[in-house]
Symmetry: C2
Subunit: 115 residues, 2 copies
């Protein structure tokens, strides 16, 4: 077991994304926070750039849940692993779902704008 796990980043294909899995993934407050952060970002964000009240291990766990549910895509980039929402795939599979949930989660997150 010396192979770097970086090769093992399994993502479900678009058609394999299941509604129940997506809803379950988004039913955790921490993960909802992560997804909101991802939705507000233009660029893919590394795991460590999130302000969530859990340790690194737990963070890894949550990103794995989101990835395996098909909500996010993870890609290795040097020592960082960057995450981005699979907005297109989700929209194709479940139209309007992500946007509606994000809106229900308390409007869009305002990264640094406060007029």
């Amino acid at each position: 077991m010396h192979a770097p796990a970086r090769e093992t980043l399994a993502h479900p294909s678009r058609d394999e994304i299941e509604l129940a899995a997506v809803l379950h993934a988004l039913s955790d407050p921490v993960r909802l926070l992560m997804v909101r952060g991802l939705a507000g970002a233009i660029e893919a964000r590394s795991c460590g750039s999130f302000d969530v009240p859990v340790t690194k291990s737990t963070c890894t766990h949550h990103f794995k849940v989101l990835r395996e549910a098909g909500v996010i895509r993870q890609r290795q980039d040097g020592t960082k692993r960057v995450n981005l929402l699979r907005e297109d795939d989700l929209e194709a599979r479940f139209p309007g779902l992500l946007a509606t949930i994000l809106q229900a989660a308390g409007e869009l997150p305002q990264p640094t704008a406060r007029t």
Copy 2:
């Protein structure tokens, strides 16, 4: 503890409905089935009228989860307990959410139509 539980039907008020709880409630395939059945029905439906692959006790449990999440409202009617979706409350709290999820759950359920 001889009081019939029929008095103890606690429902969250509209403003107490939480997104995470709703998503969690809907992240179970059996409950999703129940909600779809409820959405297709015009009248409130009794617990026993659902075609779900679980026993009665489990059914009771699932309806309780749905009720406590604020997804359905339960009312006693003779020996039956009837259920109906809290569409208005959900729409007011999380606009579009229920409809979007129901649509994602595989279009509208066709109770007895098969042209």
